[in-house]
Amino acid sequence: MGTETQNSGVQIATRDAYGETLLQLGKKRNDIVVLDADLSGSTKTAKFAKTFPERFFNLGVSEQDMIGTAAGLALTGKVPFASTFAIFETGRAWDQIRLVVCYSNTNVKLVATHGGITVGEDGASHQALEDIALMRALPNMTVIVPADAIETTSVIYTIADSIGPVYVRLGRPKVPLVMPPDYKFQIGKARVFRIGRDVNIIAAGIMVDTALKAAEILSNQGIDTGVINMSTIKPLDEESVMLAAENSRLIITAEEHSIIGGLGGAVCEFLSENHPMPVKRIGVMDVFGCSGSPGELLKIYGLTAEDIINTAKKTLNAGGKAHQ
């Protein structure tokens, strides 16, 4: 799946990195327990289940019960990782997450796979495009979208040590490695690749790689473009957003999520109150997805490097004219 990357050519699905990390974590700590709702083969929790069957709980097709059970396990001092597809985890069980995870402030780690449009052929029912908005609205919740397998591994180790509710959104397809091998994730700390003087792209998840490609092309064409990997969507790294905003003329957000309520929403909320300036959101335009290959869908829904490049040029040109 996909093409070779510029760096190493290695492509790994974030869900695969999760499965492997969970297994390693399970070997180190016996307070780690894992729950799934009949999708352990797809979420990759099956790896943990095979080695630690006594610490793995399959709840069957019942996401609401899974969240409640996870909260109960957390109350006995376990660190539960509860996984299923992002839409079922956050949509089907939202009230459960609200009441017994966030309001009760239980130490539950929600790690969902199959986020975004790149779920592909299964179509709109399975493509979570609203999950970040749903989770971001909940008090006490931390929301993380890793960019690649390296970041995923670091995120999983980090949240196993953190106290309190966390939502981590992972993807289905294999994706390029964009983070340096020695990278250490910190909750609420964005990774600034570079700050551009014209445009800064604030991206999350698979769109970080896309943003890096777009930035390279734009910079080669004389538009100085920076990229930030905003893997923690909540709490937002406001310092990094401000740094990007103060040094450029345009902010572009890029995410594999609805333009409503996700990273774009978070950045706009912060900037409109603290540093009003032009912002363009790249994301799914308030529509449902459909069946197709991930590559085709990214094109159809406007989530390619070309889309970012065109948006940057169009906005800068319009802005330039307006001020001339």
Binding site: D65, G68, A71, G72, L75, D95, Q96, L99, Y103
Partner: protein, 280 residues
């Protein structure tokens, strides 16, 4: 933890337990009247069950609410919060006087139980149907740690119309959670009317049996029957037990008993006076 502390809550004398239940009902009525809102009927109907569980069966320590080996009490029907608060005050988690802050600004006694602000509340409830799943998770965690504590969960009868209850019922049975005992407060009424008219839940006994539970039916206002059922539940191995407690909504106050309109209404000052005369 000394043995004395561990068993501090365990009272076996039926008359003493009945006396506590009467006291709990008085607290419930007083705090509801003071708050001028809240759920009277369902707090009173579950009072005897809750007292039986908490004071005859449970190991707990108010000075160390998170003591790992404590038994757990989950009020899944969170709208009966006044009952839970009265029990916790009686058990020594906070002064009885604090009960009068129910539903007021800055009080940890929220309209529905919030575990983040009130020690002794195991999990926040209020959105119905969620407590049993949490009880399952606790039961699983205790089993992993080889802690012999038990988990008790009180649900309403209207509450079990929630699908999640039946998801949890499957889970408890699938994982053979014999350290779990659920109690259905079967008072027969929900806000919109009789449970059987709003959405039929019968045959209750057969449903729970079909889901793999050991089922015991009791008169939920007969303390001796309640204690016997709780004793019996401890002997059932390899499956969870549910006690279907036949109760009367508003039990203890003649003019609240069996009246659906007192599901979500607090007694007025006048009603409180009259009610206290019946109870004291």
């Amino acid at each position: 933890m000394t043995a004395a502390q561990k068993t501090a809550g365990k009272i076996k004398d039926i008359k003493t337990l009945e006396g506590i239940a009467r006291e709990i009902r008085i607290y419930i009525l007083k705090m509801l009247a003071e708050a001028s809102s809240g759920h009277t009927g369902g707090s009173l109907s579950a009072a005897d069950i809750a007292v039986g569980i908490y004071f005859s069966k449970m190991n707990f320590n108010p000075d160390n609410p998170r003591w790992k080996e404590r038994d757990r009490f989950i009020l899944s029907k969170g709208h009966a919060a006044p009952l839970l608060y009265a029990i916790l005050a009686k058990a020594g988690y906070f002064p009885v006087d604090n009960l009068m802050t129910l539903r007021k600004i800055d009080s940890p006694l929220q309209g529905h139980p919030c575990c983040a602000v009130l020690p002794g509340v195991e999990i926040s409830t209020g959105s119905l149907g969620q407590g049993l799943s949490v009880a399952n998770g606790i039961a699983l965690g205790l089993r992993l740690d080889k802690i012999p504590a038990r988990v008790y969960c009180i649900t309403g009868d209207g509450e079990i119309q929630e699908g999640q209850i039946w998801e949890a019922a499957m889970t408890a049975s699938h994982y053979k959670l014999d350290n779990l005992c659920a109690v259905v407060d079967n008072n027969g009424l929900q806000i919109d009317g009789p449970v059987e008219e709003v959405m039929r839940i019968s045959p209750l006994h057969d449903k729970w049996t079909a889901f793999g539970w050991h089922v015991i039916e009791v008169n939920g206002h007969n303390m001796e029957e309640i204690i016997n059922a709780l004793d019996k539940a401890e002997t059932i191995k390899g499956q969870p037990t549910v006690i279907i407690a036949h109760t009367i909504k508003g039990k203890g106050v003649s003019f609240f008993e069996g009246r659906v309109e007192y599901h979500g209404i607090a007694p007025t000052r006048k009603e409180l006076e009259k009610a206290l005369k019946e109870l004291e």
